[in-house]
């Protein structure tokens, strides 16, 4: 009989379904095959013209029906696709899920194509006044829906039959991890036996790219796109904007076992800590990230020696990778030099609101498959960052526990600890 309560007497939270979409493909099988063969999904941008842009590459998902239909519809389709895979794997009813929904998704805005089309459907007046006048004469509400922050979750709730008021959240680049954390907490509080946590981001529009570019956050290594994302390398010059989605079905271990579900892994702990230093930079001593890692370990009831592998945030920005190394070496001490730490973003880019969920999905697969995906493009190691980044080639290894990091603008730091077995 498995222990059903954790070290703090709370219900143990199991994962019974996993779904994922990235620029590498749809579903776990395609993604895992690409990821473990060191294949990059980064490619030249074709969705919109790249005139005047300093960055002309991305990890956009260009192969879905909604890929050219704007951020809102694409984010929905990404979320729906990943969730469908996860719920199907769990064996639960995909039209009557019966637990709450936590969706990490990008903030919404009226798409420029809609703005242009509304504006040019009328010749009178100008600017906002014209848009408002046209808006109040609209006969359809599809455009309206794209501007409502709760609309994607509302549609997903209909699609999957989730229970209650769905929560849509943003903690910037940590959002996907926060969605999982909210699900874990709801199960631990005994509010539900299961939760559907999704991170989805289809918001790689021209304006989004330009905004990140103006903050000097993006790589401009356009010539060989698949080489642009190079976490922990000396010549890393920014992240690569990308899209994707990850979904987990979370269940109390007790409920999962009672219905005979396959347990794919355990969500052992979550930790977070906000940074009050700067809007885009982290505190120079790394203390908030360090605190988030330690909080996740404490929540999981594991010591620092009990983590086998770190799925790094590893964005490939000069700032993140330096800070992440500082925090990991502070927490893990000398052991960090011999612990595998790899970045999925070297292959899929930074999927922003989805990243924490996508990388949790890959972390769980790493344990299940006993294969660690590599950090590719590791050709010029940064001498200031001494890590075993699993350079360029996958590694076969027994992995029983994973720490997955997510750090974001606005001082957001969220870490997840996952385990292969309930213990």
């Amino acid at each position: 009989m498995a222990n059903l309560r954790d070290h703090m007497g709370r219900p143990i939270v199991a994962v019974t379904g996993i779904g994922v979409v990235t620029s590498l493909g749809i579903g776990k099988a395609d993604n895992w095959a690409a990821l473990t063969s060191g294949k990059s999904g980064i490619h030249p941008i074709t969705r919109f013209p790249v005139d005047h842009l300093n960055t002309r590459i991305s990890g956009m998902v260009d192969f879905l029906d909604s890929s050219s239909k704007g951020a809102s519809l694409l984010t929905y389709e990404l979320a729906e696709t990943a969730a469908n895979e996860a719920v199907a794997e769990s064996g639960l009813d995909s039209n009557d899920f019966g637990g709450p929904l936590f969706l990490a998704s990008p903030p919404v805005e009226l798409d420029w194509h809609d703005r242009f089309s509304l504006y040019n459907s009328d010749g009178q007046g100008a600017g906002a006044e014209r848009l408002l006048r046209v808006a109040r004469g609209l006969k359809e509400t599809d455009t309206f829906a794209t501007t409502q922050f709760g609309a994607i979750a509302d549609r997903l709730a209909d699609r999957f039959g989730t229970r209650g008021l769905p929560i849509t959240l943003s903690t910037a680049c940590a959002s996907g991890a926060t969605a999982i954390q909210l699900g874990v907490e709801a199960i631990r509080r005994g509010e539900c036996d299961r939760a559907l946590s999704i991170g989805a981001d289809g918001s790689a529009t021209a304006e989004a790219l330009i905004r990140f570019s103006l903050l000097s956050a993006l790589s401009t290594h356009n010539d060989i796109p698949e080489k642009a994302s190079k976490p922990f390398s000396k010549d890393r010059d920014g992240f690569v904007l990308a899209e994707g989605s990850g979904a987990l079905v979370l269940e109390s271990l007790e409920a999962a076992l009672a219905r005979g579900a396959s347990v794919l892994g355990i969500l052992r702990g979550c930790g977070e800590k906000a940074d009050d230093f700067h809007r885009t930079r982290s505190k120079p001593d790394g203390s908030p990230a360090i605190a988030a890692v330690r909080a996740a370990l404490a929540d999981a009831g594991l010591s620092k020696d009990e983590i086998d592998y770190v799925n790094a945030h590893g964005t490939s920005t000069p700032e993140n990778d330096k800070m992440e190394h500082l925090s990991l070496s502070t927490v893990f001490g000398e052991r960090i030099g011999s612990m595998p730490v790899s970045s999925n973003k070297s292959m899929i880019g930074h999927t922003l609101s989805a990243a924490g969920a996508v990388e949790a999905a890959f972390s769980l697969m790493t344990m299940r498959e006993s294969v660690i995906p590599p950090t590719i493009n590791y050709d010029n190691p940064d001498p200031a960052i001494v890590l075993d980044v699993v350079p360029n080639k996958k590694r076969n290894a027994e992995v029983g526990t994973v720490l997955s990091n997510s750090f974001g603008f606005g001082g957001q730091n969220t870490c997840l600890v996952m385990a292969r077995e309930p213990v």
Binding site: F48, P49, V50, D51, H52, L53, S105, P107, V108, E109, L110, W112, F116, Y119, N120, A126, G127, A128, E129, R130, L131, L132, A135, R136, L138, T141, F144, Q148, F149, G150, D158, G164, L165, P166, I167, T168, L169, S170, T171, A172, L182, E185, R188, R189, E191, A206, E207, I210, L214, L215, K273, A274, D275, D276, R279, T280, F409, G410, G411, Q412
Partner: protein, 396 residues
């Protein structure tokens, strides 16, 4: 019976067209026949309830911080500061660094001048995608992006007020405010947290914020009317207002151990998602009222009704059907504040409980007086488009 893990309200930060702070709001709202502050010209044919004059320096000491934000983030950071001050937490490092935070947020302001210039140029250009790249790469202020990001209201609260225990931002109009309060309360009740800052802000004096409603025709047009009296008038019935509401929620034991004044106890918080296109709204509101376990005595209700025709008439019918309920539609006096609407309703409910008095009617034609001391007050937010929530607020 009180319990050490009760959720109590120990800090309230409010800003609306009526002024700032709980005292100013109480004094204004307790006046019978108070007239709303409205701005009918600037966004005609729409009326809005504008922000009062605010000295940002009082809560955001550094000019550099103020410059990094647009009005929405400043407003939220300001209201959050008021709540922290009110709870005696501001400036207390130990309490701030262990404090959790859930913010209900939409998006920040776009640069209207840049957008208008791009739209004007689009009339004579067919290569609109290239036009976008050309204009956005040269005319956008780099830091404006951060002023637009939903989670950067929380980020600014961390930076300015040093609240760093945890930081989560919920999105989704009124539902975000409901979920924020509901989740915060659940975390305290279960022992996952001891003190949480929760709330939101809405800055309506920007064309995109009006557009967000008007793409589905939700805004009221023509002469202003009280929130319950807009059915049949021109437009969709909703009059928006700028404002913010933050609450400090605390575990009773935690508040008592530091000797803080308790405004009220936060009772059940309930939420739902009616599939309105299937006609489920009436039943959902009835179910939430039942789930909230209303006391059998007479009950004051602070309704967040927006004025949006369908949702407001459904809520009014449900409240009218219970003769024990005396409702106050506060949007009559503040306008609809979207993500901040539910935290605002809870704050006004807590004030009434604390002051041991009901608000006079906000609309003499449709609301009925409440005599006596309100022991329990209902707060509601039935979304103008989707999502519903309620809470009961009890005497401390």
């Amino acid at each position: 019976m009180s319990s050490p893990r009760d959720v109590v309200i120990t800090g309230i930060g409010l800003v609306s067209s009526l002024g700032e702070g709980p005292d100013a709001h109480w004094q204004k709202l307790a006046q019978p026949g108070l007239q709303p502050v409205i701005e009918a010209a600037r966004f005609a044919p729409y009326t809005v309830h504008p922000l009062p004059e605010i000295d940002w320096n009082l809560q955001i000491a550094k000019r550099g911080d103020q410059r990094q934000m647009e009005t929405w983030q400043r407003l939220g950071t300001y209201a959050a500061g008021l709540a922290l001050d009110d709870a005696g937490i501001k400036g207390n490092d130990e309490l701030c660094t262990t404090m959790d935070m859930v913010v209900a947020a939409g998006g920040g302001e776009r640069d209207e001048a840049v957008d208008a210039a791009i739209l004007a140029a689009s009339e004579s250009r067919n290569d609109r995608d290239v036009l976008l790249n050309e204009k956005l790469t040269t005319e956008l202020r780099p830091t404006l992006f951060l002023a637009q990001l939903s989670n950067l209201l929380a980020g600014n609260i961390s930076i300015v007020h040093k609240v760093t225990g945890s930081s989560r931002t919920f999105m989704g109009e009124e539902g975000a405010g409901v979920a924020a309060v509901e989740t915060a309360a659940a975390r305290i009740r279960s022992g996952q947290s001891t003190h949480i800052l929760v709330g939101g802000a809405f800055q309506t004096e920007h064309s995109d914020m009006l557009l967000g409603y008007e793409l589905a025709g939700y805004l009221h047009r023509g002469p202003w009317k009280p929130v319950w009296q807009r059915q049949g008038a021109e437009g969709g019935g909703l009059v928006s207002g700028s404002g913010g509401a933050f609450l400090v929620l605390e575990q009773r034991e935690h508040a008592e151990s530091r000797g803080r004044k308790i405004y009220a106890e936060l009772g059940p918080v309930v939420s739902g998602r009616a599939r309105r296109s299937r006609g489920e709204l009436d039943a959902e509101i009835a179910a939430l009222l039942k789930q909230a376990a209303l006391p059998s005595r007479k009950l004051l209700a602070l309704s967040g009704a927006s004025g949006a025709h369908t949702a407001t008439s459904a809520e009014k019918a449900a409240l009218d059907a219970n003769p024990a309920i005396s409702a106050r539609g506060f949007a009559t006096l503040t306008g609809h504040m979207k993500e901040a609407q539910f935290p605002f309703a809870v704050a006004l409910a807590a004030l009434a409980v604390d002051r041991k008095a009901a608000y006079p009617v906000f609309d003499a034609a449709t609301e009925k007086p409440f005599e006596g001391i309100p022991q329990t007050v209902l707060a509601t937010a039935i979304g103008y488009h989707q999502f519903e929530g309620m809470a009961l607020v009890n005497a401390a």
